[in-house]
Structures are given as C-alpha cells and as structure tokens.
Subunit: 336 residues, 4 copies
Amino acid sequence: MTINIGVIGTGAIGREHIRRCSTVLQNARVVALNDINRDNCQQIVNELTPEARIYDDAIDLINDPQVNAVLVTSWGPTHEAFVLACIEAGKAVFCEKPLAVTAQGCMNIVEAEIKTGRQLVQVGFMRPYDSGYRALKAVIDSGEIGEPLMLHCAHRNPEVGDSYTTDMAITDTLIHELDVLRWLLNDDYASVQVIFPRKTRKASSHLRDPQIVLLETAKGARIDVEIFVNCEYGYDIQCEVVGESGIARLPEPVSVQTRSAAKLSTTILTDWKKRFIDAYDVELQAFINNVISGEMTGPSAWDGYAAAVAADACVAAQTSGEIVPVKMADKPAFYR
Amino acid sequence: MTINIGVIGTGAIGREHIRRCSTVLQNARVVALNDINRDNCQQIVNELTPEARIYDDAIDLINDPQVNAVLVTSWGPTHEAFVLACIEAGKAVFCEKPLAVTAQGCMNIVEAEIKTGRQLVQVGFMRPYDSGYRALKAVIDSGEIGEPLMLHCAHRNPEVGDSYTTDMAITDTLIHELDVLRWLLNDDYASVQVIFPRKTRKASSHLRDPQIVLLETAKGARIDVEIFVNCEYGYDIQCEVVGESGIARLPEPVSVQTRSAAKLSTTILTDWKKRFIDAYDVELQAFINNVISGEMTGPSAWDGYAAAVAADACVAAQTSGEIVPVKMADKPAFYR
Amino acid sequence: MTINIGVIGTGAIGREHIRRCSTVLQNARVVALNDINRDNCQQIVNELTPEARIYDDAIDLINDPQVNAVLVTSWGPTHEAFVLACIEAGKAVFCEKPLAVTAQGCMNIVEAEIKTGRQLVQVGFMRPYDSGYRALKAVIDSGEIGEPLMLHCAHRNPEVGDSYTTDMAITDTLIHELDVLRWLLNDDYASVQVIFPRKTRKASSHLRDPQIVLLETAKGARIDVEIFVNCEYGYDIQCEVVGESGIARLPEPVSVQTRSAAKLSTTILTDWKKRFIDAYDVELQAFINNVISGEMTGPSAWDGYAAAVAADACVAAQTSGEIVPVKMADKPAFYR
Amino acid sequence: MTINIGVIGTGAIGREHIRRCSTVLQNARVVALNDINRDNCQQIVNELTPEARIYDDAIDLINDPQVNAVLVTSWGPTHEAFVLACIEAGKAVFCEKPLAVTAQGCMNIVEAEIKTGRQLVQVGFMRPYDSGYRALKAVIDSGEIGEPLMLHCAHRNPEVGDSYTTDMAITDTLIHELDVLRWLLNDDYASVQVIFPRKTRKASSHLRDPQIVLLETAKGARIDVEIFVNCEYGYDIQCEVVGESGIARLPEPVSVQTRSAAKLSTTILTDWKKRFIDAYDVELQAFINNVISGEMTGPSAWDGYAAAVAADACVAAQTSGEIVPVKMADKPAFYR
C-alpha cells in the first residue's frame, strides 16, 4: 500500500521531506504541493515529483480526497491553523516543530484531536528516532543503571548568526532536549531555572551565550543542559544519565579513529544537519507506517504541548532568574 | 520506476533479501520465486509477496520477460550456472558469494559477461557498503595518512559449529576481507602465507583455530589478518591501516557507554548478523539503483574472480606452510 | 640535605606519611612522634622509625630544636592550635585538611603567619599534585581551549557508612573540589547554590544523596559538581572544563582495556585510596623540598581559609535552598 | 641503609641515572665515577655529586671497597668486560643494554655469575617496570583472558637519523620487545621471520622501514611486531594480547582529552624519553632495593642472553627471508 501525501511549505525542510518520500522511503508518494511561493512548488515538480498537483490554497490541498496525509513544513505561525484543518478533515498530519507558537495554540490542537476521538498528529521531533537515543533509552529501560536521578546534557553549535537571540536558545535549540528528555525518562517537568555563565567573546553583543538550564522533573530527577551556540569546536550533543547504580551515555557519532601528527583523534561534526540525518528518515517512515496502520506512535500533539509549556517556563526563567514552575494541564486519558 | 525481481533460492538469505525488497527498499518488487523446495516459496508468498509467481525451474524464472533482474541466493554450487543463464538472458543478476565454487567458474562468468559487452553481475560482498569501511576508505583516499603500508586486521566469531573446517576459515570467513581489502586499497594480492598459532582449547579437535593470514599486495603493502572463530567474547571485526604518515582504524559499532559495577564499558556484538545489518540494505538498494540506471558499480564478476583466486592461494598456503603466489589473469579492460 | 620531621597524630593518615618519609621520599627522616595514644607511636617506632623519639606533649615535639618541620595529622579540631604553635616556633608545618574547623580558625593562622613574615604552612590538599589535574591545568594555561566558562564535575563514591551526614558531602567530599578548582582556574568563588535530586534508595534514611552544588566564580565561570556518595559502581572523579573555543577533560586513571564477555571495558577504581595514591607522594615530597629551599609553593593557609569559607557557604546553601554569597576577606598581598 | 654506587660511563644515560640516585630515589649515593672523558665526570661532580671520586680506570672503581654496587652505562662493546670484573669483585652490577654485544659474551657473563653462586647482574630493560606493562601482565596472570595465543605489537618512532641501519631495528628497537614479551608471557622464542612491507618514502635510502617481525614461542603463541621508525606521527608502543577467551591491551599513556577544532583527541607522545620515564625510576630503585636485600629480581644475565640470542636470529632472518630457529642453551637451574 502506498499513501498519497500533500506537502504544505516547500522550503528547505519541506523539500528534504519530499526528497525522502521520493527516493528513500517506502510506501509514500507526494501528490500535492502548496507554498506561498508557487515557483517553489513548480521547481519541486520539475525535479522530484512530476505527477504532483500544485495548490494555491493549503486548505484545498488538505481537503483533496486523493490526499491521505499531510506534511506541514510551512512558516511556524501558520502551523496551528493547518493542523486544525487536517484534524477537521480527519487526515493524519506530520507537523514540523513548533506545533503552534503558543502553548494555548498547542492545547487547541490537543482539544480538537480529542474531539475527533482519533490521534492524527505527529510532531516533527526527530531525536526519539535517533539510533543513539534509542539505544540509551533501551539501557535505561532495561534497569541496568537503576532509576535515573540526574542527567547532564549539552547542546553545542559552532556558531550562530547575528539574528539568533537569547530566547532562541530555548525555542530553537533546547526545544529538542525538552522533547527528547521527557521521552527518555518517561517523565514531565516540574520547574526550571536558567543561569548565565561568563559570556563567550565569540557571541553577538546582544546574545547571552552560554546558558545552563536546570530542570526538575515530576519524579524528582534533576537535569542540567548546557546550551552553547558559539562553542567554535563543533556541533556536539551530549547526554549522560546517572542512575542509582550506574551511568549511561549517549554514543558519539561514528568516526574513524586516526593517529596522526601526535594526536589520537576522531572527528566531531560541525554541521548540525549531519548529526541526526538518519533520524529524519526513520521519523518520516514511522509516520508513513503509522498512517497505514492507523495507529500514531510518534511525538503527539500532547508532546508538542508539553514542550511548549516547558519552553515558556524556560523563557520566563531566563528573564526572572528565578526557579519557575512548569504548569501543565492534566494529561488527558486520550494520550494514555 | 519499479523493477521486477526474481529470486532463486528462498532460504535464510534469500528470504531476508525478499523482506528488504518488500519492506525497506525503494523501487523494487519481488515478482518471481524459485527454490528446490516449493513450500519455501509458498510460505514467502503467504507472508511477504502475495503477488509473486512460483517457478519450478530457475531457468524459466530467469527467462520470464516480466523479470527485470535476478537475485541468486541458492546453494553455492548452483550459482555459476544460474548467473551464466542470467547473462545469456541479458538480465542483471545479484549473486550471493561465492560467485562460483572455483576460480575457473568465476572466469567463465567473466568471459560470458565480457562477450555480452555489458556489466550485469553484482556479487554479494556487503562490506564495501558498510558505513564504517566507507569512512575508512574516505580517510585513506583523502591522503590524510599517506600511502598505506600495512594493514592489521581481525575477524573474530564467538564460536562455530563442529561442521566448520579449517579451510572454511578462508572460504567462508576470510573471503570478506579478501574482497573488502582489495577495494579499500585499490590493490591486488601478490602472495599469501598462513601461520597457525597455538590452538585454542575451545575449538573442535579437527579445526585449527586461530589462524593468521599474511598477504602481500601488488603495491607491496603487507596485511595480517587474524582469523579466530572461537574467540568466545564476541563478533569483532578490526581493521587498522598504517600509512606513511598516520594510522586509521575501522570504527567500532555504535554502543552506549556505561559506568557500572566498576567497569567503564561498551557492548561488543555477539551476533554477526547485526554487524553489517545496514550494509545489506545499502548493498541491495545499490543493485536496484544500478539496474535502473544501467550502470553496475558494485563488486563485479572480476572482483568475485579475484576473491576466488586469492582464496585458493590461501587454502594452498594453509596446507603447504609456504608463501604461495596469487596468480591472477590480467585484468580485462572491460572492468577498467 | 635531610630534614628532620616530627609527626603529630599517628593514626592511619599519619602512619602513611611516615611510611612515605621512610621508604619512598628523599631527604626526610621522621625523628619525633606524638599521639594521644602513646602505643600508636611505639608501634611506629618498632616498625618504621627505630630512631624516632616519642613525645607525650605535641608542643614539646614542636619545640624540639632537632625537629625541622612538622606534620599535623591529628584529629581535625586540634589542627589550629598545633599549626599556630608551629608558626610561633618558626617551623614549617604540613597540616592535613581541615586547616581549622572554622573559617575564623583558618584566618587566625593566616594572621599569625603574616605576622612572622614568612610562609610556613602547607595544607594537605593533594589534588593539585595529581598528574591528571596538572595536565588539565597545563592545557587550560596553554590557552588551547580559551577562557574557561563552565566546569562540569563529579565526585562519586561507591558507598558511605551510616555516620556520613548530608553536610559531610561538603566538608569531607566537596572540600577537595573547592580547593582544586580554585587552583585550576586561578579564580575565587562568588556564590553557591545546592540542589537535591531525587534521592537514591541506597543512601541512609538521614542522608540526602546525591547533591548538585552550583558555584559561580569571581570571573563569572559556572561550576556544577555532582556529589554522589552511594553511586554503587565506583570511585569516580570527573572534571570537564568548557572554554571559549574547546573542552578539556581530566584523564581517567590508567587501565588495561579488555575485550571479554561481549564487553569492551576498562576498570573503574572502587577504593578512593588508590585514586590519588601517587599525588600523596608528590605532595609530601614537595613539602620536604620546600622546607629545604625555604619557599612554600603548595596549598597555603590562605587556600585553607578560602576552602573553609566556601564550604561554610555551601553548608548554608544546603539548608536554605537559596543562592548564598561566598564572602571572603580581601587577599593579603603576603599571599601574592 | 644507603648503598654506595660507582658509575662507569657518564654520558646521557649515565648522567640520568646519577640524577635519579641523587634527587629521586631512596637509599643510594653515587660515590665514584669513571668515563673515557674525565671532564664529563668532573661536570657531574660539580653539578650533582660533590663528594664523588673520579677514577681514571674503571677496574679501580669496581675494586674500590667503598663501592657497593656498579652501574655500567658506558659504550656497549665495553659492557662485557666491566660486568665480568664486577662479578669477579662480587659486586652487584646494573648494566644498560646490551649486556654484551654477542650472545657468547652474554653467556660468558652467565657462566661467571653461576660460578660465583650468587646473582649479581641486572640488565637495564625498563619495560617490565612500566606500570602499563605490569597492569597488562596482571590481567594475563589473573586468567581473565585465558591462555595467550597471539600478540599484536607495534614499536613506532616519528623518525630516526641517517645513521640508523636496518639491523638496528632489531638490536636497538625490537630488543625491548624481545625482553618484555618473554617476561609478559613467561615463555621463550622458538623461531622468527622478518617481512618487509612497502618502504616508506620518509626513510633513508639504505634503511628498510617498516619491518614486521613474526615470532613463535616455545608454547606456540604467535607474536607480530610492527617496527616503524619513521612513522612521522609519534612515539607509539602498542601491545595487544589475544587469549583464549578475551583480549587485553597495553594502556595508552595518560593524556587530557580535548574537544577542539572539530576533533575529539588525546595527545600522542613524540619523545621516546617520556614514554617510560617513570619506569626508569622504578627500575633503578628496584636494583637498589635488591642490592640491599641481597636478592636480584630484575632482568637477569640469563634474560640478557635470551634477548641477544633472539636478536641474532632476527638479524639472520632479516637477511635470509627465511624462518630462523632461535637456539638457546638450556636454562640453568641457577636462574630457576
């Protein structure tokens, strides 16, 4: 069985997902495209999906009976409306992060989805599909290191542009940890605090970099995440889980070890796009498989809401310097 | 475009390839099956390929005009005849190792392929498709470590059954190194010597285990390969390339690092099937892509012949204890 | 030249230092002993220092003209008085931590030392003499990783006895980091905060374990130290320094790497006494050398005071849950 | 107790040992010096050993009743005569390698020593005193990896001068492995073979570099040692022991791990003098302790003889290209 996919937003990320569907993944075919710039769609048709139809209106694409499922990869502020339209049309939708630009927007989606009685939404958090995080979760779940008590994490980029602002360290960068760590621990956040170390001289004058975010979970685990987006040396994601009887660490990406010029070394990636490159394939194939099977198993609208609430608390904590509670609605039975 | 594949031999390996075509890879569909045991085919049809036709005669399968390409995964001694039939029918064929059970058999295939004027054969050596070996080759080819002078390799299995004989260390085990190291170095073998260390008490009485194979290449590089098929501790493939100015080492498989019970450790695989599991997918997708593009780029009939000649020399060296020359025919221009 | 040493306190640590002087180090000879239990001294005489004289009164030992330098390895609350007596007698003194049980006590020593116009005191902090920390400091000081911005540290013990209390995590355990990190960074502490993760079930009912101590330095670097004294798996000291352009990590203790039973592993120490075993030798030899040269270069009375002030702030932070400032007196020119 | 040491040969190595005795080790004092260049001795006296007496004749130094033990660190061809003179004088002697320049010369010493009925000689092989090799031997002896079957070793230097000749790869370089591997395995050599890989372009025109030496032991273990003295990248000693149930590897020297400029790396030494720098101290202290206790426990005259016989066989194998037997005399009961 092959599903027909419509894509809203054919910028860089949309184009990558279309390429995946066309040349990497099984059982999916892109049949409909929409973008605020019709030329973008035409180029995709020319290069990748000769049979896809171009829609000037995203809602028409969503309502095309031929379309079985929708990818929302448009500009963030448009996500909420498009996802709600997909839910209304009863169609499965894969929405790149953020699910909505406010926690309330996410909650609107949650409520709409519950009303349909069927899970339809997958949010584009790819790290739970990364083989390293999955292996780490397997070790935790095996009980080999006991109950997790502390996590020491880092999210480092070699550099960011001048347009990157202090709050984006939360909304664009930490947001991935906010999602994946909930999944890793099967836990929720209770409070957050942000501390600002001495600033690196490599950062823009307006940017506070690095930052350290301290999270407390509902079960009492403590997480520290170093965010350092001008670290110079590489794109580096670290995650160490300290349990009651042992410690497990996210694997480094595979690299050839060399002995050369008085150094024993492996290469650290510098391009973030390569770090989780396989995870994007796995993530989207999982969505396709879920559409076919009818059971959504990936990051849900609820997970999107949870990440948004936690991110809001982190941004508030950046400003106040205080410990800020993370106040989530009660989890609906619908999401188990 | 989707190609139609016929599979000859539906045992364990054949079944795995059929599963790949059906549930993992792009642009291929299994439409025809043959096996000496028709029940095997029927089971595949029931479980994986409901539309596939079962042939009682492999030659009929090969000649079915609907079949675009053939996988030969039957018993080794049947390979030569089936591959020759595919060549005669002008059809692309992916043949599991060995291409033929003798070097002469491989040469027969080479000559038949040259006669058609078109490369049609890919031999099922998967290691050149392993991401670790590819990364290692990239480092060598970059010149970072200079010209390769020596290779230190190991091929270890936790244990083998009683039916495993001393020559199988060459024909079943070393055969993978014989192929991948030629590719890695872009070189050929000139001579071989086999030495037998003190035997492990874990091996069958009739089996000499471990063995060390010493290979000299045409360019003068020296390779030592430890073959140890009752090493107990794991399935472990090592390859270290010593160049004029540095050393590069095949990456270890990814594993979560743990601190537990006074040990800092990562896991070593014990099941060989997991070691190159991704490479099998890449290998077969490459074959499919090559069938579509019309240009074969994988291990060729000539590579199959080269591995067979080297293996023959290694077996002779096991017996004689002498340094045995590897005498290959001149490489036809057809294979560049 | 050989110096004559008097030792006050011949318990476990005192005995170890006497053994060092007698069988490992150069240029020192233990000539005088004092202990609240005279039998302890006699046993030392019998086994290690046949020519040493036993004193019933520590002050008499200090004032013996034959004694060139004193080791104070008695019960903590006695340290201040003995060190002051050494200063009064104009004799070099090596005092095991704590220098005094209160910050004021340390300040009394600082003031007495300044009054003599000559540095006489070395505090028994051994980590600055550990080859790993020294190598780490060399990397920092070389500028290779840029200015230090963050430190991620851990101090883990497999288990502690029931008598170990929550504040001992600071005064007995963290105290080593409080000293060595000041030295490593050439910086002082500005404030501290303590957070308590979910408690391990392996700890005594009265003990909060693990703890995370967050320190801010005068230069604005941020330090997190995980203290986990019932971690089960081993005695493990971690220290990672994140600089503006790179990261440096304290080396793991040397260990044979093995491949065995499906694990690639090295051994983690479980006995804290082995972790810095060489550092004790280096530390005491440095003291001896300094006594001979007349210039004290090790952890000074001022360093002992600084560690005491920081420890007091940490203990206060444990109780209050607040960010507690570390209020030190201005550094006297005497200590540069 | 302090022993009085006389030193014959005050070049670089002699000077280092004198410095050790004077400033690092316990219980030894250099009281007598001899060198073919008297000025060398005078300089040592001026700088390190003001009370040492200078002898114009080495034999007079040996026979000085004040001298308890002798270090022979003169030019290799003089060793045999000086060691024999020490034995005749009944004095313990530490002789730098080689013990004698021929196997027969070593045997002359063995016979002289047996005749005195007392072990007096320690040969200056330092690797058995290296903490890494000791840890490796402890793992082997523990039985953790089972009986050793194979050793994979490497001895690499960044470069050598033009005066370094092909046979020096054996007599100056491999000689350390020839000693330490016998000790590590508690085994003897049965035969050797040398193979010459493609030559590096970095080596002098007259030097064959790298080389691979294949050794068979009496118990049947197989050893391969790569000797590569113009490897460019560093001074690197590798030793991997493959046992019946696991593998153990010589630890790398301690180094700070850094993340910098897209590399995760540790430093490889380039100066051989630093690689075993601690082992020299331990080695010489052991000699001193043995002189005091009266029982020699280090590399014996017999070990010196064994290394010489094996080296001779290796040099013969370099020339002949054949497998050359290592023919040792039967081990006298005197050496257990």
